[in-house]
Symmetry: C2
Subunit: 337 residues, 2 copies
C-alpha cells in the first residue's frame, strides 16, 4: 500500500501510514476487583484493561503518568493514538507482534474514590487483574512517571509476578520540591472548588503541572516570541498552548481524580531493598520532578539493579514520551537481558 | 560592647550585634514625580526613597526583586532588617561608611496603578528621583532580579547618570518558561479575585513564586521528611513553610501590585547594544528564572561587559540574597574597577 493509498483509505491514520497495513488485535476488559485499599478500606473497583497483541505472546504490563490509561497504542479496537504512540511507532520493544501489551486506567481515574490512593493499591489492583486474566508472570513491567512508582510497588509486593522491571523517570519516593509544587496545584483546584469554578481551577492546575513536565530549554526554543499587550494585560507566548492543554484536560478528567492521583504520587514510598527482580532505570538530567540524582541513588540501593541510563533531554520529565528512540533502546536491552 | 550587653540593650539587634555599635545615618524621602509612563500615560507618582550613609559619599543605587523596596539595610532610622541585610552584613561593598546607598519602593508597589508598568518607567522614575536629590551621577547601579532589569533600562536610557552597572540574576528579556509560570501565577490571583477570595489567590500565587526562587536541591535538604496524611489529605513537608510565606506576603502586598509588577517582568525588553557603561553580570547555574546561558549571551551582546560571574548555588534565583559572600566579592571587584 502506498502512502497516498493509505491516507485516502483511512483518514484517522494519515499521520502514521505504517500502522495502517496491519493494526494489532486488541481486547478490552472491565474487571470487577475487590481491592483492600491502604487508606480507603475495602472497595470494589472496576478496572478497565486493554490488551494488545496475541494471547500466546509473553505479557508486558505498560504504565504511564497519572493522566495515562489503558490505551497505550493504536490498535484494531481503537485506532486513535495511544498515550505511548511515539514509542510504539518505533516498532521496537513495544511490539504487539512479539509481546502481549497490557495496560489499565488507574484506580481513581474516574474520580469515584475521594480518599487517599496509594501506589500499593494500584499495584495490588494490577496483580488481581493478572489473576482475572490468567497471567501468572509478566515478561516485564514497564512503568514511566507514576507508572514507574507503581512498578516499584508491584515488584516489591508481587515479586513472583514479573521477570524484570523497567522504571522510567520515577524513584522510590517523591522529590520534596515536586511534592511542594503538586501540593500547590491541589490548592489551586481547591480554590476553584471553593467558588464553584471547578473547571477553571482544574485547568489552571493542569497548566502548572505541564510546566513541571517540560523545561526552560524547550520553552525558550518554542515560545521565543515577545510578550504582547492585549486588553491592557501582558500575554506571554506560551499562554495559548497552555490554555489548550488545560481545556483538553478538563474534558477528560475531574477534580477528584486529579486531586487523588496527584496526592498518590506524594504518598508513594517503597523500600528499595524490597525490589528483588532485575530492574532497569532511566533518568533525565533536566527532569526536576524525578531528579536523576535521586534515581541514581535508587539504583545504588536496589539489590538487583540492571543499569541506570541517564540522558540529557530538553523535554525533561516528558522525555519518556518525546525521546522514543532513546527509550526504545533502553527497553530493548532490558527485555532481552 | 559584649555580645551579652548588646542583646540585652537592643532586642531587635540580637541576631547581629556588630551593627549595634554604630548604625548608619539614614533619610527618607517621598518624592512627587511626574512620570510619563510607557503604557499608563502621564502619572504623578510618590516615590519613597531611603538613603543610607553620608551625603558626601559616592552614590550607589540598590534595587532588588519585585517584593524588595526602599529599606535595604538596618540603619539609624529603621533598625529592622533590610531586604539585602545579608549582603550589608558582609561589611564589604554595601558599606554606608563609604557609599551613599539609595533605594526606592517600586512604582506600582502600593497597588495604586492598575495599568502595565514598564521597567523603563521604573528607570525613568529613578532618574527623576536623582534630579530631585541633586545627584548627577551614580558611582554604581546595583540591581538584582527585577532590579537588574531596571538597571539595564536605566543604563540604556540614562547612560550619563551612572559610571558602572552590576546586574545580578537578570537579563535583557524574560525567559519564556519563567514568563509562562508568572502568567499562571497571575491567573491564580485572578481566580481568587473572581469570587472575593483575593488573599487566598494572592497567597497561593506567592507560594508558587517562592518555588521559582529556590531549587529542588535546597528543598530536598530542607524538607526531606515524609508526606503525612492529615484529615484524609496528604500534607507535604514544605507546605507549612510555604503557607507562612504566602500569609506574610498578603499582609504587605495587594493583588494589583503583584499582578502589575509580575507583568512588568514579562514586559521587560532592552537592546543590549544600548547599554554602553561597564556592566558586570552575575548568574547562577541553578536559576531557571534567569538562566545562566541567557545572562552569558547578554554578556556577549553588551558593548562594554566587565565580566560575568557564574556560580553554582542550591538557592537558585535567590542566591543574590542567600550567598552574600559570593555576591559581595563580585560587587567589590566591580566598584573598584
Amino acid at each position: 500500500m502506498s502512502l497516498t493509498d493509505c491516507s485516502t483509505a483511512t483518514a484517522e491514520l494519515d499521520s502514521d501510514c505504517r500502522s495502517a497495513t496491519a493494526l494489532p488485535i486488541a481486547q478490552r476488559f472491565i474487571l470487577a476487583i475487590d481491592l483492600p485499599m491502604r487508606h480507603a478500606g475495602q472497595r470494589r473497583v472496576f478496572l478497565r484493561v486493554e490488551v494488545v497483541g496475541s494471547p500466546q505472546s509473553p505479557a508486558v504490563w505498560v504504565a504511564g503518568g497519572i493522566s495515562a490509561g489503558q490505551h497505550v497504542l493504536r490498535n484494531a479496537l481503537d485506532v486513535s493514538e495511544g498515550w505511548w504512540q511515539s514509542l510504539a511507532d518505533q516498532r521496537g520493544a513495544l511490539d504487539p507482534g512479539r509481546y502481549r501489551l497490557l495496560a489499565c486506567d488507574w484506580v481513581g481515574a474516574e474520580g469515584d474514590i475521594d480518599a487517599p490512593i496509594d501506589t500499593a493499591d494500584q499495584a495490588d489492583a494490577i496483580a488481581l487483574a493478572l489473576d482475572a486474566l490468567g497471567i501468572a508472570r509478566l515478561h516485564a513491567f514497564v512503568g514511566a512517571s507514576y507508572g514507574g512508582m507503581v512498578g516499584l510497588q508491584f515488584a516489591a509486593r508481587h515479586a513472583a509476578r514479573l521477570k524484570r522491571l523497567v522504571v522510567l523517570s520515577a524513584a522510590d519516593r517523591p522529590n520534596p520540591f515536586a511534592s511542594a509544587f503538586r501540593a500547590l496545584q491541589r490548592q489551586v483546584v481547591a480554590l476553584g472548588q471553593l467558588q464553584c469554578a471547578d473547571e477553571l481551577g482544574l485547568a489552571l492546575a493542569r497548566q502548572l503541572a505541564m510546566l513541571s513536565y517540560r523545561t526552560p530549554e524547550e520553552f525558550a526554543e518554542r515560545f521565543a516570541g515577545p510578550v504582547a499587550l492585549e486588553h491592557g494585560r501582558a500575554r506571554c507566548s506560551a499562554e495559548e498552548y497552555l490554555q489548550v492543554c488545560g481545556q483538553r484536560y478538563v474534558q477528560r478528567w475531574n477534580s477528584t481524580a486529579f486531586l487523588r492521583l496527584s496526592e498518590s504520587i506524594d504518598l508513594h514510598q517503597i523500600n528499595p531493598g524490597d525490589v528483588a527482580v532485575p530492574t532497569t532505570l532511566f533518568a533525565v538530567e533536566q527532569d526536576w520532578l524525578a531528579p536523576a540524582e535521586q534515581i541514581c541513588a535508587l539504583r545504588d540501593a536496589l539489590p538487583n539493579a540492571a543499569g541506570c541510563e541517564v540522558i540529557a533531554s530538553k523535554y525533561g520529565h516528558d522525555a519518556f514520551l518525546k525521546e522514543p528512540a532513546r527509550v526504545d533502546a533502553v527497553l530493548t536491552r532490558a527485555f532481552e537481558s
